[in-house]
């Protein structure tokens, strides 16, 4: 079920909204609208559904409208036109067209927010900052301190409860910001470039912490970022925005493999594929392996130089692998398994959705090609060529849809 459903939302800043929307419908550009009415178009015709438990990353350059769209979700920006449904218990509330009382309820019970520059109240202690939203709800002091303390412990800042935000480092301040949002117990979290103001090491650390927290909490998170690597790392869906429009909304791998246009491809060209690509988009599929019936029936050549062949039965299950004519042992490696415990010089069977970084580690460790399987069936093979191919960005040409 969708936690947030954004339907044809336009956000226009200014005083001539009606005229600007008409111009927008007439197909005028953002600049033309600024020149005629003085209004700025923040978001134009955005339509996406964000499912419960998803991390949706809105991505784009500054001024692309990602923050404007994010702020429309809790009504900080007024939606000029369209519907913006947000889950409120069992029903959906249209925050774009609701009264201020409903909006206050949504903000204090359903949607909380983390800010780029932390936005902590400098005169309040860390504990009071975390309890700020509860105070807005009207909760009494004892209860809110108790809840805030629990959240502070979760981000391991409980020892700093009575300090002022200015006494904390940037990374710690943003952990306070996270705790303040988590304390609200809302199902939906809005994060506006929460890690952009931090230095790279701390940023990485906080991203990992967020992923870990998310595994336990299963919130619906809308995350704004201008960094595709960050988006690919934490996002379960990515929406790429360019001049007020969403140009592509898809899972991370598809963004990398099938960029919708040159703008997206430009972003993708500068990312590291190691964290994104999976076995099935890198492999040489079984059908493309040269058959060699001279050695054995249904034998396929995996590596001509090393003389490695695999034979399969009629159910596509691996029967035997030979190296220079000698059979070699086969081992399986699951997702959670420690790579260092694998034996070297054995053929390894791995699930087809293995990550690229892990696949390279296994290849490096065992020294032999990797066989990709799904339901015990052989799907394809990963060899050095497959990795070089992806690292050089040549995977854009592979037909991803056919192999998925």
């Amino acid at each position: 079920m969708a936690a947030i459903s954004i339907q044809h939302v336009d956000v226009v800043f200014g005083s001539n909204t009606k005229q600007s929307l008409a111009l927008l419908d007439a197909g005028k550009s953002r600049q033309e609208i600024i020149d005629t009415t003085g209004d700025t178009v923040g978001v134009h015709d955005a339509t996406i559904d964000i499912q419960e438990g998803e991390i949706c990353v809105l991505m784009g350059l500054s001024g692309s409208g990602k923050s404007s769209l994010l702020r429309a979700i809790n009504g900080l920006n007024k939606t000029s036109r369209g519907k913006l449904l947000v889950k409120d218990g069992e029903q959906m509330v249209d925050v774009a067209n609701c009264d201020s009382k409903t909006l206050l309820h949504m903000r204090s019970h359903r949607v909380s927010m983390v800010f780029q520059n932390f936005a902590l109240m400098p005169w309040l202690t860390v504990l009071d900052n975390v309890a700020f939203g509860l105070d807005m709800q009207g909760m009494n002091k004892r209860d809110r301190y108790q809840k805030a303390m629990q959240q502070l412990a979760m981000v391991s800042l409980d020892k700093w409860a009575n300090k002022l935000p200015s006494q904390l480092s940037g990374g710690m301040q943003q952990r306070v910001g996270l705790a303040r949002a988590f304390t609200m117990d809302t199902d939906i979290l809005l994060m506006d470039e929460p890690f952009s103001a931090l230095d790279p090491l701390i940023r990485n650390q906080l991203q990992d912490e967020l992923i870990e927290l998310q595994q336990n909490l299963q919130k619906t998170i809308v995350f704004v970022s201008h960094d595709l690597d960050e988006a690919l790392k934490i996002g379960s869906k990515i929406g790429i925005m360019e001049s007020a429009k969403i140009i592509q909304y898809d899972i991370p791998e598809n963004i990398v493999l099938k960029p919708a246009n040159a703008y997206v491809q430009d972003f993708v060209a500068h990312t590291n594929p190691l964290n994104v690509l999976k076995g099935h988009s890198l492999m040489t599929p079984l059908a493309d392996l040269p058959a060699d019936n001279k050695i054995q029936p249904r034998a396929r050549c995996i590596d001509a130089a090393q003389q490695i062949y695999v034979s399969i039965d009629q159910h596509q299950q691996v029967q035997q692998v030979t190296l220079n004519g000698q059979p070699i042992e086969i081992q399986t490696c699951h997702h959670q398994q420690d790579i260092n415990q694998l034996s070297t010089q054995r053929i390894t069977l791995v699930p087809v959705d293995i990550g690229m970084r892990r696949a390279i580690e296994i290849k490096y460790h065992t020294g032999l090609p990797i066989l990709l399987t799904a339901d015990k069936q052989l799907i394809g093979v990963l060899n050095d060529d497959s990795f070089y191919h992806a690292l050089l960005g040549k995977h854009f040409k592979t037909d991803f849809a056919a192999t998925l």
Binding site: L104, R107, S108, N117, D135, M136
Partner: protein, 281 residues
Amino acid sequence: MDWIIEHKIPIGSWMESLVDWLTDNADFIFDAISVSLEWLILNIVGLFVWFPPFVPMLATAALAWFLHKSISLVIFVVVALLLILNLGYWQEMLETFVLVLTATTISIAFGVPIGIAAAHKPWLYTILRPILDLMQTIPTFVYLIPTLVLFGLGVVPGLISTIIFAIAAPIRLTYLGISRVPADLIEAGRAFGATPFKLLYKVELPAAMPSIMAGITQCIMLSLSMVVIAALVGADGLGKPVVRALNTVNISQGFEAGLAIVLVAIILDRIFKAPNAKEEG
């Protein structure tokens, strides 16, 4: 050019007719204000004078200690007050103190809400700004005349003139403080479900507090600078001996009373200024 000189615009007469009209038609309002404020001030002064001098002295010292935890400030406060007592200006000092206190309280009571409203409604500030400029630049003696006519001789016209002169500071600095609250703090407040009222007193006012406090300190100092002028229209206090000394060319009296004013100014400034300076640092 002759035509211009011959047809003088009667701005002065207009103002005069306005004041005349007010004395004719709204006299009872001004009388009521005058009587009640005078009663209030005289009673507060009476209360302070009723105490033996060491009570207000210790209270001030205790306040200084409570706010600043500085032993040197406490010593200064006690020594300065003893000196004033010794010079024989104890009652005058109390009268001045009450005048300043009342003027400041009324200025804050009106100035801070006006400043907040101006920060929230830009059109209001557009209207207010020239009025505030006028109130601060117009020579004090000029509006001393109509206040004298409207409120009669005594402490009240002095008080009103003081307020007119001093209220601009809390209005301006409250306006400045509230309108400079960082936008992300306002957003954070709203995002966590603050009502406009909670936003004001949980986010905007605390964020603007250093600026508002600066406005209050300034207001105290401006009020104090009016004591001599207030004395001209009959307000009691340290201004009176100064005026008397001026009329009789009495150097020693003038210097002593002036010194007492300076000491009161330093005490008030030190006690009320430093807390927010500490916060900023």
